[in-house]
């Protein structure tokens, strides 16, 4: 049943991720997809009850899932989307700098790249560029934009105020992002080993625990549970210590 629950959660998190990505890619069907996103968790509950029956364990599982998973799926899906944004933005900057090096102006190159692309990222970029032209004389409308878009909006505005330094500014900005990506990648190597090791050890321990509980279910082992709890406690403490070691460390440099 545990494996059954795991498969159900994995499937629905995957569906949720796909819907969120599609919402960001295809703005025209956003409303339909949002509706679909709203009904996915009730659908998940119905499917779980149908497949496992209305047992106390199923109800506990559903309560746990609904309390802990709904907010967290959105969190990690947003994390994936942020990663995609950085990649797309870097590709866009490369293209923009190359076009500007051929002698085109910033605005011209920007519009040229975004003109024939129909995905949401390029549509939003185009909208930001057009909005920034009006914002120079009117009140700032950055409250209408998301954090990533505000960042692009400010960059576009600062370049349009000083167009003679546009190429240098963009190159500098690209170098900053590339360095950021490079250091993030390198520093992730530190925590990756720890996470992998902790995960492998935990899976092994859970497997062993299930095996021992099955094998000695009717024996004297259960009369003295202290040994079992000591083992679980020691393992939990080990996991806590690993997470403390793998915590973010402040830079010395």
């Amino acid at each position: 049943m545990f494996i059954h629950f795991l498969i159900l959660i994995f499937g629905f998190v995957f569906v949720s991720r796909t819907i969120t990505i599609q919402i960001n890619r295809k703005p025209l069907i956003e409303a339909t997809l949002q509706d679909l996103k709203k009904i996915q968790w009730p659908f998940f509950c119905c499917l779980t009850i149908l497949s496992t029956g209305l047992q106390p364990l199923t109800i506990l599982f559903l309560i746990f899932t609904l309390v802990f998973f709904i907010n967290h799926t959105d969190l990690w899906i947003n994390f994936i989307l942020r990663q995609n944004f950085q990649q797309l933005w870097l590709q866009f900057l490369d293209e923009l700098i190359l076009l500007m090096m051929t002698g085109r102006s910033f605005r011209d190159s920007f519009l040229f790249i975004t003109e024939n692309r129909q995905n949401l990222f390029h549509l939003k970029l185009r909208e930001i560029l057009l909005r920034s032209a009006y914002d120079q004389n009117s009140t700032n409308s950055s409250h209408l934009l998301s954090a990533n878009n505000i960042f692009i909006h400010n960059l576009v505005q600062s370049i349009e105020k000083n167009p003679h330094k546009a190429l240098e500014k963009l190159k500098c900005h690209r170098r900053q992002i590339r360095l950021n990506v490079l250091f993030k990648k390198k520093s992730k190597q530190i925590t990756l080993t720890m996470r992998t090791q902790a995960m492998a050890l935990s899976l092994l321990y859970i497997g062993l625990l299930i095996f021992v509980l099955n094998k000695h279910s009717d024996e004297i082992f259960f009369l003295k549970k202290s040994m079992l709890f000591t083992s679980i406690g020691l393992f939990g403490l080990g996991l806590v210590l690993i997470s403390i070691i793998g915590r973010k460390r402040p830079w010395k440099t």
Binding site: S187, M194, I220
Partner: protein, 143 residues
């Protein structure tokens, strides 16, 4: 150690400001307003000391050599000297220093991981595997 080092961030921000035609002060202020790192607070205090012509060695003395050199260079920039070329060279040094710090951390991590694995997790496994056997043996041996 997930993001860019604060000293590298300061150097990049000031360089971006200088290359865009702004002053060193603008770059430093941009860094202070954007960064949430404790180093930004130190830079803020340092900037106040420089503005009031007060000594700031008590701030920079306990800092990492890279951070100290960067603050000394920026002080020259605030006094009006051209620092862009020196800043570019220092940036390379800071990048190398950051890479070395990450490498040292990567080398140290497996050794640190040994402690919880051998001291806590290994006994937990042993207890789980041999616990029932030892327990039944003890009961059988008990007169």
């Amino acid at each position: 150690m997930e993001n860019i080092s604060p000293s590298l961030s300061l150097s990049l921000t000031v360089r971006a400001a200088l290359e865009s035609g702004y002053s060193v002060r603008t770059g430093i202020l941009q860094f202070i307003s954007a960064s949430r790192d404790p180093f930004a607070e130190i830079v803020g205090t340092w900037l106040m000391c420089v503005d009031q012509n007060q000594p700031f060695h008590f701030i920079s003395d306990h800092l990492h050599p890279c951070r100290r050199s960067l603050l000394l260079l920026l002080e020259k920039g605030l006094r009006g000297l051209p620092i862009l070329n020196h800043l570019v060279e220092l940036e390379e040094e800071i990048i190398q220093s950051c890479e070395m710090e990450i490498e040292a951390q990567i080398q140290k991590t497996p050794l640190l991981l040994m402690i919880p694995v051998f001291v806590l997790m290994f006994p937990a496994y042993l207890l789980l595997l041999f616990g029932p056997i030892i327990q039944s043996l003890l009961i059988k041996l008990d007169p």
